[in-house]
Symmetry: C2
Subunit: 796 residues, 2 copies
């Protein structure tokens, strides 16, 4: 067998794999490019049944009656289950990660279009779908509440009548920063700019929809659940706490996952239905969403209506920022936000700037929309925060008549200010911002671009240049500061070196396509000198891995990456003691050069990590009192988050005739600290930039006034393709995190966070001749056209 | 779901399960009694092929030619493989656990009847078997060497012509003890007794034969092998070292195993064939032996021809014992003996007695029989050693005219002599022998039995009373003293307590029916106060468990049992620190009462282990500097073996007309130190006693002079049934092991080791009126009858 040889651009030397950090092809691609990945839908168990979910066609209605008799009579149907049946077993409602409750199957009312009403378990997927049509549900329609402002009106219908004593649609108000101090800063300012900004509701839209195979073994009482989850251990504990299943009798397996982007953090009703279906029938049960179900019912992101205000001196010194946000959480508050941060990490809306004061208030509201608030490729609301600050800074530049780059350079935090505590209490661990922005300007040829723009503008062409600068907060998180449902964000990691010197690394985090099997092998390789191909990375299986809270918010490298490096160092420390015994010298006389301990000053005497591994397993004596084996474990909790940053420059052209925006160039300079595999980093950046193009120009989950979802298929919810994106121009700087053992920061989401404001800033810049100050995303041709005509923007 | 309620005799209180040691039903029985165990043959993978092995009909022959063309033409055949094809890939030979090599498929010669010659992989089991008959092998018969004395003759044909320079059939000579000192003791003795004693070749004959399912994934390069192995990790390392497969890409799974008894320690050619078959075809391949294949080709035990000599004073003080053994190892030396002990633990042939000197020489020899020497329910040759000493001690008693019990009581080691170093260098860790023998006498009513015997004998009835006393050496073993193929006998163990306080214990050892899932849960329960049902015990899967050398020689409780207790104590130590933080008192102010830490002197303040588990996973702060999680691991290597002992008394009646032996009563008093689950201990003893009845009275793998196996089916190789065994009368004493953290010793093999001499002693005792001094096992009616007639014993 020979490995498939494919060499993408940028991979210069595939044959010399690094033993440690450096460019190498992803180990997992061997299976992915052959179509041999194993996703939930590839799990086929003997006797497996199939589950389909009946969903509400209405956004808000009382359930009068459900008649399942015809469905039950279908010859291939094994079970038909309604909310009433679940309620009898206390399973009709489940807690959400935000501490709310969500209906598994609706009992009293349906609260959004697409809500789960009943499910069928049948011999095959076709029969299950057919039987759904045999279920007769009588609904009494209620007034749907779609707009967040309407939801807050005193006379609005109360959506969450299930919550005892609930008389409105308000979820929470959350404040950060100092309102009075900010008010004083605003009062002293020369210039104040205010802008209403909407971050529309979007969907992570992963390649693979959600699904599960539940296999409850009635004999052992053990439940095995293959599911599309980003957080297997957290899910296991939740199933234990909620369903009363004993935690040691639950195995959650996240096999290959076709993209998560935050959308696979929550527990969806479908998972619970699959479990119930398997327990009821005693057979394995598979549930896999179709695309439409995924788009209408699984976690949405954003849906923030923000008023941003910025105060500055006349010469461009930014003094303060404040904002009030109306957050549309849909019918159930299901976001995966830490308990102490109900609006997630929105607190970093102060951006990368040196401010005197800042204040934000977030008001979260129920509406008759699907539950939202998933952390779609951002650490809990950072995308919204960065978009807000980068748009209003651009608005300020416009107001002041300053170049947006100049305004940023003037206000960026200086290297000597780090670690820097923001006015909202976040401590940025490190940063060196100006070189990053300068590098982006250099790659883009910023000043030449401005000249070109002037020339083109003179010719009536609509060319725009947009800049954004962002600081991300990733790697949740320090135990004292954050938790989800009371569980702190520790991450376990285990490393076992086998007798022959091959190794297995067991991670609590797992991959949804980020290349963990490669990156983590490289981390261990760097520390121990074992080639990455000799290191098996195991993840995504609660039976095989230590506890941890999962992969989201770019936390894998900042948290588990640190754990992996530290656990490898524990192995190295032990190996050193064994080596001292083997070489009959003191530990102090040994020096480590990648992969071996050498006797100082004697080039002929050394033992490799492989020699040591065999010895550790009994091939000869060990130093007195030392335990055998070459295994170590760790439970890692970081001191702080890590704070990657970046500077992005976007060039757009707008067709004056059609108002179609074309991204001509996009320069992205990222700083994620130490770079483990630059190839994977670039891949992550490329993906995030495409995300940004989609959100800025095309994507929006819109609803009509009845609450019908207008983005229930890829005909309606548009994703960017190769046609919409330019050749990315990337660069990097390196500012290692001081508290991370290898200085790495996490790169998974930077581009998703940082690119939308650069694109929107570019479009607004292009539209300057029209006197336009702001256009809300998505910048579809119709919306840009209407703006050019001075008319209000259409829904999409 | 309700648990099945079955209450066997002796289980008084099923509803009050102990949280710790005590009688409780086996957790695993829930699946076993429902037929829901999952054995290798239950593994059915999509696309799975079936493998059958062509075996030699001759014991010794040159292979002239193999024509596989007709088999290859079979429409359902996917591959036909011969030794020559394996040889091209360097895979025709594999190392054995004793450091010899064994043919995977014969190339040059066949060396025993049943040897593997070729294999077929086909769409189903039937086609594979059919195709075997289409393979045409031309043999040139050679002179078979069946008798071990013949094998040592200078003119004997050389069996192992494959070994370079080998000109005879001698394998090794191994000596222990001091020959000169022993000679002096013999010279000074009043009485010397010599007896030739044969321990026949027997077979473990487990309920489940050997088998494997190999699944080689060509994409990931990962091999998953379900196999009937007692030592998954050792097998994995061997596959890595031998086949060159990377160790981290091999997963060995021992699912439920239907009995091992030492016979599933070696790697058999069938496992390797299954692996090769899967790699060749790219599909999963199943190989499962039939009963006949199991009996003729997998590991045999015993086959020792021993001359035992004992020297004593006239008044019954035993001075010395010596012996020379001819050990028949068959065609390949495949025993699982530690490198430093080629004759295993035969060195404990000094028994439980206070000797002045001892000496043994073991000469191992190749013959044209299947490879033997497996440690069938004994720690490597202890069964033979105990049988030898207990027979010659009885012979001595007869010679001296002493009661065999009196002779033993006079010579047993005294409690104050422990730890006791034998004349062959073994250090018995503890013992208190006399109370054990006295208890057996009391249960049996020994003196009344002797009276009864005198009365019956006077009436011409043949009643016999047999006694044995044994010391076992179990729990291999201290790293400095023993290893297998250079791998020391460390055992890893991991314990993980989940957030909700349920736990999972991962063991390197695994079960073949001994009840590990229950016993080990009880060990952890005793230490942590977590109910056994809340503790999942995981074993038998190299991907899920830490490294260790497997289950044999009763080593699970002595080695992994110690590891489990110690790892639980590590958890408890960490829990105490967490508790001190939760209760805001110093660690010194806490006291542990099963399951909770209490503040000393304040009965109102306590935290349970479950509270602590949730806190450890982040539900609140931990003391500064403490890692989160509640996991621990250990790699345990014992200081010494543990030495259980026991006293057995057997009463037999022999039908004077048919010479049929009936075991009327059997009293077994065992001392295995601390008793974790007395019910499981009793079950182990019952099984071993039945083993002993079988070996003493019925079982023997005999061969005719051409080397044809005469025990190739259960029609020929007889196993005891309920008809042949009495109601066992068991008792116990408790002498804890001083170096084992909970004082336990291991009980799996005591009865197999200790019962045959008691039975044979009883039979010889019954036959005293005939002047018979010894009859070799098995004591079948024909052999006893011939002995009664003063004629030589027939083969079986």
């Amino acid at each position: 067998m020979t490995a498939v040889d494919f060499r993408p651009p940028g991979f210069e030397n595939n044959d010399q794999k690094p033993i440690g950090y450096g460019r190498m092809l992803r180990k997992e691609d061997a299976r992915f490019i052959r179509g041999k990945g194993r996703y939930v839908d590839d799990v086929r168990l003997p006797g497996m049944l199939h589950l389909a979910i009946l969903r509400s066609p209405l956004a808000h209605a009382r359930i009068v009656r459900i008649d399942t008799s015809a469905a039950e009579a279908h010859p291939k149907v094994k079970a038909v289950v309604t909310g009433a049946m679940l309620a009898e077993r206390g399973l009709a409602w489940m807690p959400t990660l935000a501490g709310d409750v969500q209906a598994v199957l609706a009992t009293d009312k349906v609260r959004f279009q697409g809500q789960e009403v009943a499910f069928v378990v049948a011999e095959d997927r076709y029969a299950a779908r057919d039987a759904l049509e045999l279920i007769d549900v009588e609904y009494e329609p209620l007034d749907p509440v779609i707009d967040v402002r309407r939801a807050l009106a005193p006379d609005a219908p109360v959506i969450r009548t299930d919550l005892e004593g609930k008389t409105d649609n308000h979820i929470f108000d959350w404040e950060t920063g100092d309102a009075e101090e900010t008010e004083r800063a605003f009062a002293s300012a020369d210039v104040v700019v205010s802008q209403d900004i909407v971050y529309p509701r979007v969907h992570p839209a992963p390649l693979e929809t959600c699904g599960a195979v539940a296999d409850y073994d009635r004999v052992s009482g053990k439940l095995t659940l293959w599911s599309t989850t980003q957080a297997p251990h957290a899910h296991r504990t939740l199933y234990a706490l909620v369903a009363g299943l004993p935690e040691h009798k639950i195995r959650v397996i996240a096999p290959d996952i076709g993209g998560g982007f935050g959308g696979k953090v929550p527990i969806y009703p479908g998972y619970v239905c699959a479990i119930v279906g398997s327990m009821l029938t005693g057979r394995p049960v598979k549930w896999v969403e179709d695309r439409s179900e995924n788009l209408i019912s699984t976690g949405f992101a954003r849906d923030y209506i923000m008023r941003g205000e910025i105060a500055a001196t006349r010469d461009g010194k930014i003094l303060a920022i404040r904002t009030h946000v109306l957050a549309d959480h849909g019918a159930f508050n299901a976001q995966a936000a830490p308990s102490k941060y109900p609006a997630g990490f929105f607190g970093v809306f102060t951006g990368s700037y040196d401010l005197q004061a800042a204040y934000a208030k977030v008001t979260a509201v129920y509406t008759n929309k699907a539950p939202g608030g998933v952390a779609y490729a951002c650490s809990f609301r950072i995308t919204e925060a960065v978009y807000l600050v980068e748009r209003i800074v651009d608005r300020l530049a416009d107001e002041l008549g300053m170049d947006p780059v100049e305004l940023r350079l003037k206000n960026l935090l200086k290297p000597e200010q780090f670690p820097y505590k923001t006015k909202t209490g976040w401590v940025y661990d490190s940063g060196n911002y100006e070189p990053t922005l300068r590098k982006a300007m250099e790659i883009a040829g910023y000043h030449e671009l401005r000249k070109e723009q002037a020339e083109r503008r003179a010719r009536g062409e609509l060319m725009g240049i947009g800049v954004s600068f962002f600081t991300e907060a990733v790697g949740a998180g320090p135990r004292k500061h954050m938790d989800i449902l009371g569980l702190g964000m520790n991450d376990g990691c285990e490393l076992r070196v086998h007798p022959t010197g091959k190794a297995v690394l067991r991670l609590s985090v797992q991959t949804q396509g980020q290349g963990h099997e490669t990156t983590f092998a490289q981390i261990v390789a760097e520390e121990l000198g074992i080639p990455p191909d000799d290191i098996e990375v195991v993840h995504g299986d609660t039976d095989q891995t230590p506890f941890g809270l999962g992969t989201y918010g770019s936390r894998s490298t900042p948290v588990s990456g640190a754990a992996a490096a530290l656990v490898a160092r524990r192995i190295r420390d032990k190996a050193k003691i064994i080596a001292s015994g083997m070489l009959e010298v003191s530990v102090a006389d040994l020096e480590w050069r990648k992969g071996a301990f050498h006797v100082k000053g004697d080039p002929t005497r050394a033992v490799t990590i492989q020699d040591i591994a065999m010895r550790a397993h009994g091939a000869g004596d060990l130093p007195e009192g030392l335990e055998g084996g070459l295994d170590a474990q760790i439970c890692y909790n970081p001191e702080n988050l890590t704070y990657p940053h970046g500077a992005y420059i976007c060039v757009v052209d707008i067709d004056p005739g059609t108002a179609k925006v074309k991204v001509r160039r996009f320069v992205a300079v990222d700083d994620c600290g130490t770079r483990i595999n630059p190839m994977i980093i670039e891949g992550q950046v490329h993906g995030g930039l495409a995300d940004g193009v989609g959100m800025a120009l095309m994507e929006m989950i819109a609803f009509d006034e009845d609450g019908n979802c207008l983005g229930a298929s890829f005909m309606d919810y548009l994703l960017p393709t190769a046609l919409e994106v330019p050749d990315w121009e990337t660069g990097y700087t390196v500012t290692p995190s001081p508290h991370h053992p290898i200085g790495a920061k996490g790169i998974g989401e930077s581009a998703t966070v940082g690119s939308p404001p650069a694109i929107v800033n570019a479009v607004v810049d292009a539209l300057k001749p029209f006197g336009i100050r702001h256009v809300d995303m998505p910048l579809t041709p119709s919306r840009v056209w209407e703006a050019m005509q001075g008319r209000p923007q259409p829904p999409i």
